[in-house]
């Protein structure tokens, strides 16, 4: 009896051990571009987890591609996520993190530990800081708290003299006076957004329509893959179109699991967004992506991914929705966590960057080897991606795969420099052309 007991125990123990090794992800470049290679889904007993331990930047700075240089524009932020240049050259930095997540299942405790180790759980500033670079070289820039006591803000947009903040649960309008460094007037709610108590994906990006009549707000899903029930997903995994005059909204596009940082492509005029796809189907599924967003289109979540690849974890399934699902335009590879997108139309960086898109990849936590943790540039021709991306800003990981920083929001300032919010290094990085004169 004791022999067979031992045998069973050994079998079970080795099954558990097997679940813990040899699940490395493949070459990410195979799943970049219009036609990513998608392996079969694999649900492990213990899903892979690989968290980059946090270290300080110290005297290090990110590594930039040849022809570029980088400096810290400012540091000492509290979890900076979004950068928004104002027309007068001021730069707004949204300092934020998600609201306290409820523990709904035992694994939520493990996720809290992941955030603790990876530095993702640090409290955000819930505020917006204004930076006004000095016109005279060598002078320190002005730095003020532009807006304070916000509720997990992420997206902002200025339309005329209306300044909009997308808190995690509402779009709030503030009056903006040209040149002011601090908004003291109280805000008014333009439209509520899906918020707590679960609020799994809490970041709400904002984009104004070119004519200024509409605001687009991204609302990520309330779960990885519907585990909190479809009731929790009302108006989520969507980009909502909000009427500026009335606050009425409609779903502009759906099935986008966690869309962020919508932008208008300067050539085609189409809306583009980066999207974080679902987890726990293996190290090479599902590739995060960048896509143009069509009015009324459905992009698959939760029922399927990359068109008609049905997700076995969703019940009841919806074959009618799977049939409608649009394949996204450009895969970025799995678990890179793209959160920032900006098209480059400036002239500070070398001319080759013009017309392409920079993407800020926050970096993976559930894949070995690590993926992301960099800013890439994707070439565009006539408004379509036209080739493999190029690593533009790296070095967010040190040689031992410790994380010094994690890029989030991107922006191009008035001088044409690329700005990068680093929510782990609490820094805003400024990338310029190596021979540019701009300070």
């Amino acid at each position: 009896m004791s022999v067979s007991r031992l045998a069973v125990f050994c079998t079970l123990a080795s099954a558990l051990a097997l679940a813990g090794c040899d699940r490395k992800g493949g070459d990410p470049s195979k799943e970049i571009g219009a036609n990513p290679v998608l392996p079969e889904p694999n649900q492990y007993l213990l899903p892979p987890m690989r968290i980059a331990p946090v270290v300080q930047w110290g005297d290090n700075v990110p590594t930039v591609a040849p022809g570029l240089k980088v400096e810290a524009l400012a540091t000492g932020f509290i979890h900076p996520r979004t950068i928004y240049p104002l027309p007068n050259g001021d730069i707004l930095v949204v300092e934020s993190n998600g609201p306290k997540a409820p523990v709904n299942r035992p694994k939520d405790l493990i996720m809290k530990w992941v955030e603790l180790v990876g530095g993702g759980g640090a409290p955000g500033g819930n505020r917006i800081t204004l930076l006004r670079p000095s016109k005279t070289p060598g002078q320190p820039m002005l730095r003020t708290i532009f807006l304070d006591h916000l509720n997990s803000p992420f997206g902002v947009a200025l339309v005329g003299h209306d300044f909009y903040v997308a808190d995690t649960d509402a779009i709030i309008r503030y009056p903006y006076v040209d040149g002011e460094t601090k908004i003291t007037a109280p805000g008014t709610v333009l439209a509520p957004l899906p918020g707590g108590p679960i609020d799994h994906h809490w970041t709400k990006s904002l984009l104004a329509s070119p004519d200024g009549t509409k605001l687009y707000a991204s609302v990520g899903s309330n779960s990885n893959i519907t585990e909190n029930g479809m009731g929790a997903e009302l108006d989520r995994a969507d980009i909502l179109e909000v009427d500026r005059a009335t606050g009425a909204f409609r779903v502009f596009a759906s099935g986008l699991r966690n869309p962020n940082s919508m932008q208008w492509n300067p050539q085609s005029g189409k809306m583009w967004t980066v999207v974080n796809e679902r987890d726990e189907l293996g190290p090479d599924l599902v590739p995060d992506y960048m896509t143009s967003v069509q009015d009324g289109a459905f992009y698959g979540w939760p029922y399927s991914y990359y068109g008609q690849h049905v997700d076995p974890r969703v019940k009841p399934q919806r074959p009618d929705m799977v049939a409608k699902a649009i394949k996204p335009d450009y895969a970025l590879s799995s678990h890179v966590a793209p959160l920032g997108l900006v098209f480059y139309n400036g002239s500070n960086l070398p001319a080759s960057y013009k017309g392409g898109a920079f993407v800020g990849e926050h970096g993976s936590w559930d894949r070995t080897p690590l993926n992301g943790y960099k800013v890439i540039w994707v070439p565009f021709t006539d408004g379509h991606p036209s080739g493999m991306p190029k690593d533009v800003v790296t070095g967010f990981l040190d040689a031992n795969d410790n994380a010094r920083g994690r890029p989030v929001g991107l922006a191009v300032d008035q001088t044409g420099a690329l700005l990068i919010a680093d929510d782990l290094g609490n820094t805003v990085w400024r990338v310029t052309g190596a021979d540019s004169q701009s300070k």
Partner: protein, 145 residues
């Protein structure tokens, strides 16, 4: 068993400790099977959430049962006569439930179907077998009868 007199009155009257915990862990495991069935019937994630918490509670109490069993084995070795097959059944039930807790930590339908529900059903059979034997993994000493 005349050569095996109890060393003290305390031990002579002592009952094993582990049956305090075994039925509690078993009840949690049975509950997880019931909520798994309800999930499959309704697709409501709430029932899957019940299952994973029930399995978590089962694992905590099963660990306590394991400690109690060790206490019985070590400190009451004169009066304690384990029935090894029942101990084996207990260990298998606990290990299967541990695996089941990992499976139930997946997101969505595959947290339950097919492997989660299958293991819950197997564990239920084991639990019923243990219950039939009064949750006791030992025979009482003949001398005490």
């Amino acid at each position: 068993m005349l050569n095996n007199h109890p060393t003290s009155l305390v031990e002579a009257g002592a009952r094993p400790v582990h049956p305090i915990f075994v039925p509690v862990a078993a009840a949690f495991m049975l509950g997880a099977f019931v909520t798994d069935v309800l999930y499959v019937e309704t697709y409501m994630g709430m029932w899957e959430t019940f299952s994973i918490w029930l399995l978590t509670a089962a694992m905590i109490v099963a660990a306590l049962a394991g400690i109690a069993l060790l206490v019985d084995l070590v400190f009451r070795r004169r009066s304690f006569r384990p029935v090894w097959f029942r101990v084996f059944a207990c260990v298998v039930g606990a290990l299967l439930s541990l695996i089941n807790a990992f499976i139930h930590s997946r997101d969505g339908y595959t947290a339950v179907v097919p492997s989660g529900l299958t293991i819950s059903a197997i564990v239920t059979v084991i639990v019923l077998y243990l219950g039939w034997n009064g949750w006791n993994l030992s025979t009482r000493r003949e001398a005490a009868e």
